[in-house]
């Protein structure tokens, strides 16, 4: 019997961004276009799955007292790998994301999952959890990127021109704050209605 809910919980019920309010900085900063959001989401997911696997494999050997520094070392290893891979194969995306690629290391989602889940569960469930949580983050950041890009630039993933008078403000910093404010407001409204 496989507990599939370990996979699905990250996408909806325990969505790391909208429900747990974790990882806000990259969410707002790199979601100015859909493609940047997607790139950031995939990079974070790669680090999350990698660190979950290693933490779960080593969980019997990591002494309880120093587990947080050990987690940080493991995470920063994967972040460095991601940083250099992205710089080599997707240089323009790497340039757009800038300092936010190395900053994945302080993303609370990843350290949080290592501490709460991977340190206490076997490797199979840790991978499922990593993919689920990573997808939850990727979906939200891509949706915000799509909304901001559509209103602010009139395109989706860099294609098309759907809006004749794009509101530039949406791809500038204020647009990021107001988009996520509206998303959370709508989510709250929906939850209050369906209680």
């Amino acid at each position: 019997m496989i507990r599939w809910n370990e996979f699905t919980k990250g996408i909806v019920k325990e969505n790391p961004v909208l429900i747990l309010m974790l990882g806000l900085c990259p969410l707002l900063a790199v979601s100015s276009t859909a493609i940047n959001g997607l790139g950031m989401g995939i990079a974070a997911m790669f680090v999350l799955v990698g660190s979950n696997i290693v933490v779960s494999l080593l969980r019997k050997f990591i002494p309880d007292g120093v587990r947080i520094p050990v987690f940080i070392i493991i995470i920063s290893t994967f972040v460095t790998v991601t940083d250099y891979l992205m710089a080599a194969y997707y240089p323009s995306l790497h340039k757009n994301l800038g300092v936010f690629v190395p900053l994945i290391v302080v993303n609370c989602i990843i350290l949080g999952r290592a501490e709460v889940f991977a340190y206490r569960n076997n490797i199979f469930y840790s991978v499922l959890d990593g993919i689920g949580m990573g997808l939850g983050f990727t979906v939200v950041i891509t949706i915000i990127g799509m909304i901001r890009e559509l209103i602010g630039n009139g395109s989706i993933f860099g294609f098309g021109n759907f809006v004749s008078y794009p509101a530039l403000i949406m791809i500038l910093p204020p647009g990021g704050f107001i988009t996520i404010g509206f998303l959370m407001g709508i989510l709250n409204w929906y939850r209050q209605k369906h209680r």
Partner: protein, 195 residues
């Protein structure tokens, strides 16, 4: 020439590229502790303290240890460990020598470790090729900008807590709207002094 350059760095970090409202860094505590002016002041003092020391130490490590040994790829892991241990050290130091200050800042110090603004400033100092003096000035500028933004934000939130806000927008959503408007006004500093 050097002095003008330093003033430019300070003003740019303080207003034009305000770390919270324009750069989107360090947002978790921005929303977390900004409910009251007093706690936001405590947080920003802790940030000021840690940001200055962390920038100096990481600059020295990068230029005097990592560069000569050609270990640049280790900077992510090094910086995060430096910041984490520095915060611990400062906590012990303060407890022993400045118990009053420790009482005021104690709760906020551990929170600063996970503040991505600190790590980001360490990276920016390397990426922008700052000298040691410029590093210190930049860290002060960023920390002062942080203080201005978070204290203004907290004072607005204290007022809004008493205002009749629609049920679905209470709490975080309205806070994001406030942040959006503040960010909009900070955009107005763009082009100040031709920077």
């Amino acid at each position: 020439m050097e002095e003008i350059n330093l003033i430019g760095i300070f003003v740019s970090a303080l207003l034009i590229n305000n770390i919270l409202l324009i750069r989107f860094l360090g947002l978790c505590p921005f929303f977390g502790v900004s409910g009251r002016v007093k706690s936001s002041l405590g947080m920003s003092m802790a940030v000021f303290f840690v940001m200055t020391t962390a920038s100096i130490v990481s600059w020295m490590l990068y230029h005097w240890v990592l560069l000569p040994l050609q270990l640049e790829f280790l900077r992510t892991a090094t910086f995060i460990l430096v910041i984490a241990s520095l915060v611990q050290l400062e906590e012990i130091f303060m407890k022993k020598f400045f118990p009053n200050l420790y009482k005021a800042l104690g709760v906020y110090l551990p929170l600063v470790t996970t503040n991505c603004a600190i790590l980001a400033v360490a990276f920016f100092n390397i990426d922008y090729n700052h000298s040691l003096i410029q590093t210190i000035i930049y860290a002060w500028g960023v920390a002062t900008g942080y203080t201005i933004a978070i204290v203004l934000f907290a004072s607005i939130r204290e007022r809004v807590a008493l205002a009749p806000v629609p049920e679905a927008l209470k709490g975080y959503p309205i806070a994001f709207f406030i942040a959006s408007l503040m960010s909009l006004s900070f955009l107005g500093f763009k082009g100040l002094f031709g920077l």
